[in-house]
Each structure stands twice: as C-alpha cells, then as structure tokens.
C-alpha cells in the first residue's frame, strides 16, 4: 500500500511540475509580447470528417502567415487559436463557450458542419463575436439575421435544386430515392431536393434518414426493390462512401448523387470503383476544386509546400475566411486607433470588400455572398490519388435567395 501511495504521490508531483512549467512559459510570453489578437478556427480536426476540417484549419493558418504581416506591423501579436469540434454539436458549443470567454479572440473561422455551426453561433451571437464560415451551406446559418454570422460559400436551397435539375434534365431521371444523415445539413439538403423533385414530377420512391455507418443492408434491400433511376445521398462522404459501396455491391446500377459533403478524396478510398461503375456518381458543390479558381494557383503551391499535401475542398475557403477576418480587424483597428472591440470587428466584417482566392467577397445584410458559385462535378476517381481527375460538368453563378420569409 505504501509503495502505491508513493507512486501516486510522485506522479502528482511530476504532473504539478509540468503544469507549473506550462504556466511560466505562458506568462513570460504575455509579458514580452505586444498586444495579442487571436483568431479562432473551429472545425473537426479528428474523426471521420477530419480531412476537410484540417483543410479549413490549414488554409486559415497559411492565410494568417501570409496576410497577417500588416497587423504585426501595427504592433499586434496575431495568433491562431485552433479548436476541434469533432463534427459534434455538443463539442462545438462547449468550444464556443471557451472561445467567447477568451477576450483576445476577435474573429473566428468555422465550422465544417451546419449542424455544429447553428448551435455554436448562438454563443458567438450572444458574445458579439464575428465568425466567417468557410463551408456551412444550410440556409438557417444566415437566415436568423445575426450580424456576427457570415459565410463565403453558397446555400443548400440553391445547390440541392441544382442537383435535382441535373438529375431531371441532364440525366433524364424519372425516379429518385433520397437518403439523409439526420443532421441539420443532410436533412435540409434532402428536403430541398425532395421539394424540387416533386415540383418537376419526379417520383420520390423513398425518403430515409439514417445514422448507420457500417451496415446498410436494411436500407439497400428496399431501395433495390424499388429500382430508382438515381439515389440522392444528403450527408458527408465518410458515411456515404460505405453506403455507395454496399448499394453497388448489392446490385444497384443507377447513378448516385450528392452535394458538397461528398467533396473529399477519402470518398474514393472508401467507395472505390462503386463511384464509376454503373451510372457513376456526381455531386454539386459550393467549393469547386482549387483548379477552378484562377487566382488560387500560388495558393496551391504554397499550401503543398507547407503541409506536404494538395489542398482538399474548403482549404481555399478557409484561407479566404481568415483573409476576411484579418482585413476586418485591420479596418476596425485603424478606425478605432487601437485594439478594436468585438462589436467593431463584427461591423467591419459585414462591411468588408475583400479580394479573395475564390471571389471578391462582400456580404449582404444577412451575411451571405450576394452571388455565389456552384459546381456540378462528375467523379472519375476510384482512389485517393486520382481524385483530381474528377471533371467539372458545369458551373454557374446564382444569386442568394436572401432571408426568405
């Protein structure tokens, strides 16, 4: 017993020493440095969707490194504060509470998932902290009309009808089976697709929500029996990939469709040749491949040099979101003649006109882009390495539907 007690004590001593060490370094930094400004990022850095989440964080990191110089020149110490929301609303909200509690944080970039952004942004709204979203497409993100919430991408009530238009007109599909992941994003997209399909007279053979990630037998069997022309999956690639593979294995020969949640090279690793066999697979997205943005060539080069891998979807949007934050803080700091308040930054973000990689970013009165770009992409890849062979079938600029009723 004594021995155990001794061991426990020594562990405690070591732990407290480690903590003390951390404390001192933090303290010295603060004393030596100039006025600190932090910019937060929140995206899934671990878990099944981390590939996209890390891309957002790394895009923002690169932007801070390349564009943060002006603020540093004004005597500010600008730091990145990355948070991992694990693609889970609870974790996102808990992090959001931490973020708003840190008064040095003046602006934020995030999230990946609308279902996480919507509850977390309530915290940002209460605290008056501006957030720029690189990826959230659910209309509700901005239609609440919060001053603090902005996004640099399009919306689901435009991209889901675009997917439906593609299925109905280009593919000539007469029937569809809709599956969603029961998140705010997935279910929202699915509802928009369904409404558009019903308007066109396309037959909706099934509308299922599922949180299943491994065994889709029970969904695939009735799906195959009803034999739809297209299957629309509203969700994220890590779940969709398994579903596509199992449905194809079980004998489904039609076309799979999806939205921007499919835009990850991991999809090809998980689903393999299920994406190209039969009727193939296509998706709409609000974030085209970086090659679609003429101004992003240097970004791709720098990103690859820094992180050792080509940028995934949303990396460029992460870069632009950070760019918007930095430009707004600059403007607010100049106007205020010192470190600006959160309210000043939030106003400045809404008023920004920023020449970004993906477009010239301005926000309308609810924080949407007045016109956003949408893409339809056909998948040619069967593995991660060939993801760049996917082909842009169509791209168009569409106006934001605004606040709605």
């Amino acid at each position: 017993m004594n021995k155990r007690l001794l061991a426990l004590l020594s562990v405690l001593v070591i732990a407290s020493m480690a903590l003390a060490a951390c404390g001192t370094t933090a303290a010295t930094e603060e004393a030596a440095g100039a006025v600190t400004i932090k910019i937060a990022t929140q995206s899934p850095l671990s878990g099944g969707q981390s590939l996209l989440g890390v891309a957002i964080k790394q895009g923002a990191e690169l932007a801070l490194e390349q564009l943060g110089g002006d603020l540093t020149g004004m005597g500010y110490d600008v730091q990145l504060a990355p948070y991992d929301d694990q693609a889970t609303p609870d974790v996102g909200v808990a992090n959001a509470k931490n973020i708003v509690a840190d008064t040095d944080i003046l602006c934020g970039v995030g999230h990946l998932n609308s279902g996480v952004m919507i509850p977390s942004s309530e915290e940002y709204h209460t605290a008056g902290l501006a957030f720029v979203s690189p990826a959230n497409t659910n209309p509700v993100v901005t239609t609440r009309g919060y001053l603090e919430v902005n996004r640099v991408v399009g919306r689901d009530d435009v991209q889901a009808p675009a997917a439906e238009e593609y299925a109905f007109t280009t593919l000539g599909a007469k029937s569809v089976y809709i599956i969603h992941d029961k998140t705010a994003y997935g279910q929202g997209v699915a509802e928009f697709f369904k409404a558009a399909a019903e308007e066109d007279g396309m037959e909706v053979l099934g509308f299922e929500g599922t949180e299943e990630t491994a065994n889709f037998d029970a969904i695939v069997t009735p799906l195959i029996a009803s034999n739809p022309d297209v299957v629309f999956f509203a969700g994220i690639y890590n779940q969709a990939g398994v579903f596509f593979k199992q449905a194809r294995d079980a004998g489904y020969e039609g076309t799979f469709l999806g939205t921007d949640g499919m835009d990850s090279s991991d999809l090809a690793d998980i689903a393999g040749d299920a994406l190209t066999s039969g009727g193939g697979m296509a998706y709409t997205t609000v974030a085209g491949p970086v090659s679609a943005y003429p101004k992003a060539a240097k970004f791709v080069e720098d990103y690859t040099a820094k992180f050792g891998a080509a940028p995934e979807a949303y990396a460029a949007q992460g870069y632009d979101s950070m760019g918007v934050c930095l430009a707004a803080i600059m403007a607010a700091a100049e106007a205020a003649g010192g470190k600006p308040t959160r309210a000043q930054v939030a106003e400045a973000v809404r008023a920004v006109s920023y020449d970004g990689l993906t477009s010239t970013i301005t926000f309308d009165e609810i924080g949407d882009l007045p016109t956003a770009k949408y893409f339809i992409i056909k998948v040619n890849a069967t593995s991660k390495d060939t993801w760049s062979t996917n082909e842009i079938i169509d791209s168009f600029d569409l106006p934001s539907p605004g606040k709605g009723e």
Partner: protein, 377 residues
Amino acid sequence: MKQFAASPVYKFFLFPIGQIIMFALGSSVGLSLITVLLAYVFKFNVTNFDLVERSLLILPQVVINGLTIGFVYSTIALGYTMVYGVLEFINFAHSEIFMVGGIVGVQLIAYFEHLGILATLNQYLVIALAIILAIIISGSLAVTVERVAYKPLRGAPKLVPLISAIGMSFFLQDAVRLILSLTTGEFNVILPQFGTFDEFLLVALPGMADPLRIQIKSVIIVGIAVLMLVVLNFLVNGTKVGKAIRAVAQDRPSASLMGINVSQIISITFLVGGALGGAAGVLFALKATKLDPFVGFFPGLKAFTSAVLGGIGNLTGALLGGLVLGLLESFAASYLSIFTNGAFGAEYKDIFAFAILIVVLIFRPSGLLGETVGQKA
C-alpha cells in the same frame, strides 16, 4: 437410439448444428409469416404498388440480411453471457474487444496489400489468418483487461466492476484512436477489396421471377460463425476445462474447494469470450468494409441486448437472442417505410426492435430461454 444420443458426434456436432438451423429457420419463418399477414392488413394504405407483392419480393433478401447480422450479434453476445455466467457482471468493455479484433484483422489484410501479395494469396487463407490474429490479440486483450480492471475488484460490490468496465471501454476506444492516428491523424480503417467476396451466388427460387442474390460474404460470415459456435459448444460441454467453467459458474466457493483454480478459469473464460469477440470483429469488418475506434458501441449494445433477450448467462439463449434481434432489426428497417407509406422510415428500426424486447421481457423477465435451462456459463 439412446446410445446414438449419447455419442459424441451427435452431442457435439449434429445436435448444436441442428439447434442453430432450427433457431434460424424458426425465427425467420415466424417473422416472415407475421410480415405477410401485416402486408395484407396494410394493403389499403398503399396505393401506388401492390404491397403484398413488394413484400414478398424483398422477403428472402431481408431474411438473409437479418441472419447475417444476427450471427454476428450471437457471436459477440456469447462473450457477454459467458462472463456474466461466471462473474455475474456485464463486461461493457467487450464491445471494444470486438472493435480491436476487427481493426487488427483489417490492418493485417491492409498490410498484405501493402506488401503487394494480397492478390496472389488464397482469399480464404487471408480471412483465416486475419481471424486467427484477431482471436490471439482480442483474447489476450480480454485477459489483460480482466487482470487490470476487474480482478482487483473481485471482492467489491457488483456495481464497482461494472463502472470499471465502462471506464475500460472508453479507455480502449481512445487508446485505439490514439494509436491509429499517431502517424496520419486519420483513424478510419478501410478493408481493401480482394477476392470474390463481393460477388453473388444466384439461387433460383420456385415461383419467383428473379433469382435470389446471396453475397458470398454472407455465406462466409454465417459459416464461420456456425463453426465457432460448434467449437464453443464442444469446449464448454465436452472438455475438462468446460466442466470447470460450468462448475465455477454454478458455485464458485464449492468449485474452489474441489481443487479448481478459480482465477485461472475466469481468465480462460475471458480468453474464450474475447477470442469470439475478436473473430466476430473480423466478420463484421468483412461486411462493413470501414471501421473506426467507435464502431464497437452499437453492435456491442445490440449483442448485450441479444444476451438479455435470450436469457443472460445462457449460451443457447445468446445464440437465439442474437438471431432474433438481427432478424427483427432487418425486418423493421426494410418494412417500416413500406408499410407506413414513408411515415416511419428505417431510422425507427431500433425503437421497434427494442419495443419488442421490452414486451418479451415483461412476459419473460429472465429472457427467452432463461428459465427452462438451468445450466449457466
């Protein structure tokens, strides 16, 4: 006849296999009849197609899906029920033992692919090697978990090791997550495509236009699961070790007085349960093709439910419970949406399956086979 009934071939081979076939057939036929009956009842509800015809069309496939996942549940459920039989506590870390087995098996196959020999090796040999490795790793992990987390608590009140088990479960999840994401930050494990497992056996059924499509995977999963169940039956009922396990389950102090090393027997119980869980993990991976460190939770919960449904502590009960739950789930998921015209979708399958579980437990609190068979372990 009596002599035949006592012969080892009958006792350890024909009887258990017969029992498995009987359970599988019985529950499939029962549920199928109920479904067809319901199809006639709900016929008025659906106007755009013939409900009875559609129901019959997918019925064989639904049964096969249900049996496949049902056998996986049974194999996991045996781990819960064996430990309960011996120690009377629920080993909640068992779902992680299962997950580790699956991940280890897939990693081995991925390693073969990395070496470039996956395509040249015999596909059945690959599966066999993956299962053997999973059995070794999961079995020893289960024994280690018992040593570290349960043995020091053996004299404590029963809730204490239960909490310890839940803690162990979280620890293992995140430990595996840490190990897998050390180099890449990515912890999805994807089964490489190999062999002919994704292909179908076409079975022509009399009176049906389309032949029944049975995936080779499903046949392999069911075959291996049955094999393991038969081996386990022999181990528990036909060997000295099995006799000792049963003795410890029935009365630990007396067994100890008879010269049985109780600690050793408990370790063996965990070893066997863990080995079964690990093998089930590989079978599940074959089906699911993508695993992560948290994949064990739901199959584990379902398997635990199966064990309770069948009568916890009862080996035959775990087998029956797993099959019934797998079938129930498959039927509910496939038919709810069709019968209710889309009002209830597949996402309600668990509510439906667990509602039936509650009903069964109201009328038979000790599970389907809980009372009729006195023997535990």
